[in-house]
């Protein structure tokens, strides 16, 4: 009975406080079509996209004439530690890793919506982000998606993927794949509801906690993908074979030499998260790094997601610059935008975001010019139809010291 009252109250509130926005004369890139629609309008009701078409003739609480400027969906960082790190070198400001748990470490409660990195990256063009755990072990834990609204309820999707690296710990990568296989076998055999476990818990010889094994089970049940950091072509091939034998979903992070095995990645329908700006052969596993990687993978039919640099979370929004560089080396512009938005939400099943689609949340950005240009700025940023503040700590520092003679 109580539930019904609450339901009625919520419905009534929504009805009474309908709020509408109308963006006029925009160049709209929706993410669902390759085209940019010139002179289009976007109608937003109660924070959701209600219509995208020409000459929308409806009354609205607020009409915003953007005079031909580009509107895109807000961008989504596919891989960073936003909300988990304040200053990289100060462990006391970090919540991104655990030595107690491995696969079962969920960063969902580590996220701090008041982090100074959040308004800063929001104003760089990210409206949401997948924050990932870090660590030097085989499994680092579970990542979650968050809105960058700064609100206390920023969590969008909890524990959406399990993160691992076979390049970790100075161990042979082959040994790490074997260890992964053994751990998967253990997790399969493990039933938390069984009488033995209920009565005695896990045997001491098992290096994982029940929480860790439960996380791995979600991967084995294909509920969530496994995201593995790998770069060398031969390692990518071995990983593809391994996930086929395990029948699980894989996303590859890094893939510096991905272009060498683009065909196999495309055939196996494995999405890759790229850092296009990082084209240096920083290790022997990345000797084939090159700026054409994104374009070559896309051409072969691989779904690509664009990130900046894992260890430069502070500037996660510079994924835009990486995307621009990928375009100058052959990636189509619309694919670069999708790699920053729709491909991220599609790969990790983040609902109602990533493209301008009727019914989606109105997470959108009015750009002063091409969003991939290094000289462009996000002029207005909306999350669920709400205009975000342009203020950041950095901007306040600037204004304290700026003298305009």
């Amino acid at each position: 009975m109580k539930i019904v009252y609450i339901f009625l109250a919520v419905t009534l509130t929504n009805f009474l406080y309908t709020e509408s926005l109308l963006f006029k004369n925009a160049s709209v890139y929706t993410g669902t079509s390759k085209e940019i629609f010139e002179d289009y309008d976007i109608y937003v009701v109660n924070g959701k996209i209600s219509d995208i078409s020409q000459d929308i003739d409806l009354s609205a609480d607020k009409i915003i004439n953007v005079e031909g400027k580009i509107i895109t969906a807000g961008f989504i960082s596919p891989f960073s530690h936003l909300g988990l790190i304040e200053i990289n070198m100060l462990a006391e400001t970090r919540d991104d890793s655990s030595s107690i748990y491995s696969a079962g470490f969920s960063i969902s409660q580590a996220f701090n919506p008041s982090s100074t990195l959040i308004p800063y990256n929001l104003n760089g063009g990210l409206t949401s982000a997948i924050s990932t755990p870090s660590g030097s072990r085989l499994f680092s834990g579970l990542g979650s998606a968050f809105s960058l609204s700064g609100d206390s309820d920023s969590l969008l999707l909890k524990d959406l993927a399990l993160y691992a690296s076979i390049e970790a710990e100075g161990e042979s990568k082959a040994a790490n794949i074997l260890l992964m296989e053994d751990t998967f076998d253990l997790a399969r055999a493990f039933d938390k509801d069984s009488r033995e476990i209920q009565e005695y818990g896990l045997p001491d010889s098992v290096k994982y906690s029940m929480r860790d094994l439960a996380a791995i089970k979600r991967v084995l049940n294909k509920e969530i993908p496994l995201v593995v950091s790998i770069n060398r072509a031969s390692d990518i091939i071995n990983m593809i074979k391994f996930v086929k034998s395990q029948n699980i979903k894989l996303v590859i992070m890094g893939a510096s030499e991905g272009w060498m095995v683009a065909k196999q990645l495309a055939e196996s329908k494995i999405p890759v998260i790229l850092e296009p700006i990082n084209n240096l052969p920083t290790s022997f596993d990345r000797l084939g790094s090159r700026l054409e990687n994104a374009a070559l993978l896309h051409k072969a039919g691989v779904k690509i997601l664009i990130s900046y640099d894992e260890w430069e979370t502070h500037n996660a929004y510079l994924s835009r610059q990486g995307a621009g560089i990928a375009v100058s080396y052959g990636l189509p512009w619309h694919e670069a935008i999708n790699a920053l938005s729709k491909n991220v939400s599609d790969t990790f099943n983040i609902p109602n975001r990533g493209s301008l689609t009727i019914g989606h949340e109105a997470d959108l950005i009015v750009w002063d010019a091409d969003p991939l240009e290094v000289t462009s700025f996000a002029e207005q940023i909306y999350i669920s139809g709400k205009l975000m503040s342009p203020n950041t700590r950095s901007l306040m520092l600037r204004d304290r010291y700026l003298k305009r003679d």
Binding site: E86, I87, N88, M89, L90, L117, I277, N278, N279, L280, P281, T282, S283, F284, R286, L287, G288, R290, W311, E312, T313, H314, N315, L318, Q321, G324, I325, V327, S328, L372, E373, V374, T375, S376, F377, S394, L395, L397, R398, Y401, L402, R404, D405
Partner: protein, 452 residues
């Protein structure tokens, strides 16, 4: 190991003392060895025709020609008639800038691939190592160098790292393939001395050795300069490699390149330079330069900055996008702003970093045209390296180091088409064998395939 470090430090302190070791006059550093052997072959006459030119002098030509004679710029003018044996490079519809100069690089000393065996940038065994020279660590076959060339870098300055208060001598190199470092050395470029403020020295040492605090850092600089003064004044003192370098600074021959993030530390370093009567040329990684921009302009000190890197440590927390522009515009536009990379990634696109800083400045209300912003990566770093008489601008008499871009270099989409060093084509986008791969890259992908 720790004991060894302490012993070597004590030995250093003893050797720095003003005791007269013998009566013979000290044989000072010789200036006729360790010289550059770089000598370009003759370019003949080359005419770069019809480009949109940002000269680096503060001028812009919408369409003009550049005549090169024997490796040197002869003339920049709107229309130059070629003679019969002039090689013509068509730059119509393209943009032309001076060769890009990165004042802060570790190419060669922190190479790619990054391996324990070639990590040669920090002599982190004592906080005072002015006797080590970066040029003695440089691996000339670093894969970062041809990538930087493709990004338009024609000159770069290699510094030791920032673990030490005095990190050692830096070296200015031309971005040309060579099997020896002498073959890359910028002819007669002044030596530099790397100093470091702040978190790094006190973090690297400090457990049971000075410095462990910022005040320990400052005491360390002053103690060393006291020894250097004595050494300079006492011709009878035994020759000391460390003091040779410090004396070179006091004599005005070696330029100080000072890693320093915080505004208050820059002000303290200026005081120290006044106490010992030397000049600081540039503060590097100057994240807080905007807080002391007037002080820097008054003292004629350049600031080398990133467009937007921040947050990796506490002293890099107060970054503003407008830092470069505020330094540039200080005291009626008399500031010396430089955009630097300190990164094998950033050095490939210093033009984009300058573009971001320019856009932020314009957005903050400054008038900063491209012809001014280009100076942050050309003329100003040349000045701070003491080589602005030969590079950094496109004008008569300068080395013919220049870049032809396919479009506006302040765009993410711009790529270099041709890079000339001393009038010779070192990168040509239409040549699949260009840039020349390093030795390391030959056959490294497969026996028949070089790294790209």
């Amino acid at each position: 190991m720790r004991n060894l470090i302490i012993i070597s430090f004590l030995t250093f302190l003893i050797s720095c003392s003003s005791e007269v070791f013998d009566n013979q006059e000290r044989e000072d550093e010789r200036d006729d060895i360790y010289l550059s052997t770089y000598k370009p072959s003759s370019s003949g006459d080359v005419l770069v025709k019809g480009g949109r030119i940002l000269t680096g002098t503060g001028e812009e030509f919408l369409s003009a020609d550049i005549l090169i004679k024997n490796n040197v710029i002869e003339e920049v003018a709107e229309l130059i008639e070629p003679s019969s044996n002039t090689k013509i490079i068509n730059a119509e519809g393209k943009w032309v800038t001076p060769g890009i100069i990165d004042i802060h690089s570790h190419m060669g000393v922190y190479a790619a691939p990054s391996l324990r065996s070639n990590s040669d940038g920090n002599e982190a065994t004592s906080p005072v190592t002015p006797h080590v020279w970066a040029e003695h660590s440089v691996w000339t076959q670093d894969t970062q160098m041809p990538l930087a060339l493709r990004g338009g870098i024609t000159t770069f300055h290699v510094l030791p790292g920032s673990a030490n208060l005095f990190g050692g001598r830096g070296v200015t190199l031309k971005n040309v393939w060579s099997k020896t470092v002498q073959g890359m050395k910028f002819p007669k470029a002044p030596y530099t001395l790397k100093m470091a403020c702040g978190e790094n020295p006190k973090r690297v040492y400090g457990s049971n050795q000075e410095p462990s605090t910022r005040m320990g850092n400052v005491a360390g600089y002053r103690a060393a300069w006291i020894k250097a003064k004595e050494y300079k004044d006492n011709k009878n003192a035994k020759r000391d490699l460390k003091l040779d370098t410090l004396k070179g600074v006091l004599d005005g021959e070696i330029l100080i390149q000072n890693h320093c993030y915080r505004g208050e530390e820059m002000a303290v370093m200026i005081d120290i330079s006044k106490e010992f009567d030397y000049k600081i040329t540039t503060f590097h990684h100057a994240i807080e330069a905007y807080k002391v921009a007037d002080l820097l302009a008054e003292n004629g000190i350049c600031a080398a900055m990133w467009a937007d890197w921040w947050g990796f440590k506490h002293e890099a927390f107060d970054m503003v996008w407008e830092n470069v522009a505020i330094v540039d515009q200080a005291k009626g536009g008399s500031g010396c702003a430089i955009v630097h990379s300190d990164s094998g990634v950033g050095i490939q696109r210093l033009n984009q970093e300058a573009a971001k800083a320019m856009a932020a400045g314009i957005r903050a209300g400054f008038e900063i045209p491209r012809k001014r912003a280009i100076q942050w990566i050309t003329k100003n770093p040349a000045k701070a390296l003491g080589i602005d008489d030969r590079v950094g601008t496109l004008e008569k008499g300068k080395m013919a180091d220049l870049v032809i871009w396919d479009s506006d270099p302040f765009s993410v989409y711009a790529k270099t088409e041709i890079v000339l060093i001393d009038g010779l084509i070192k990168y040509d986008h239409s040549d699949p064998d260009s840039p020349k791969p390093t030795d390391f890259e030959l056959g490294i992908i497969s026996p028949n395939e070089n790294r790209l």
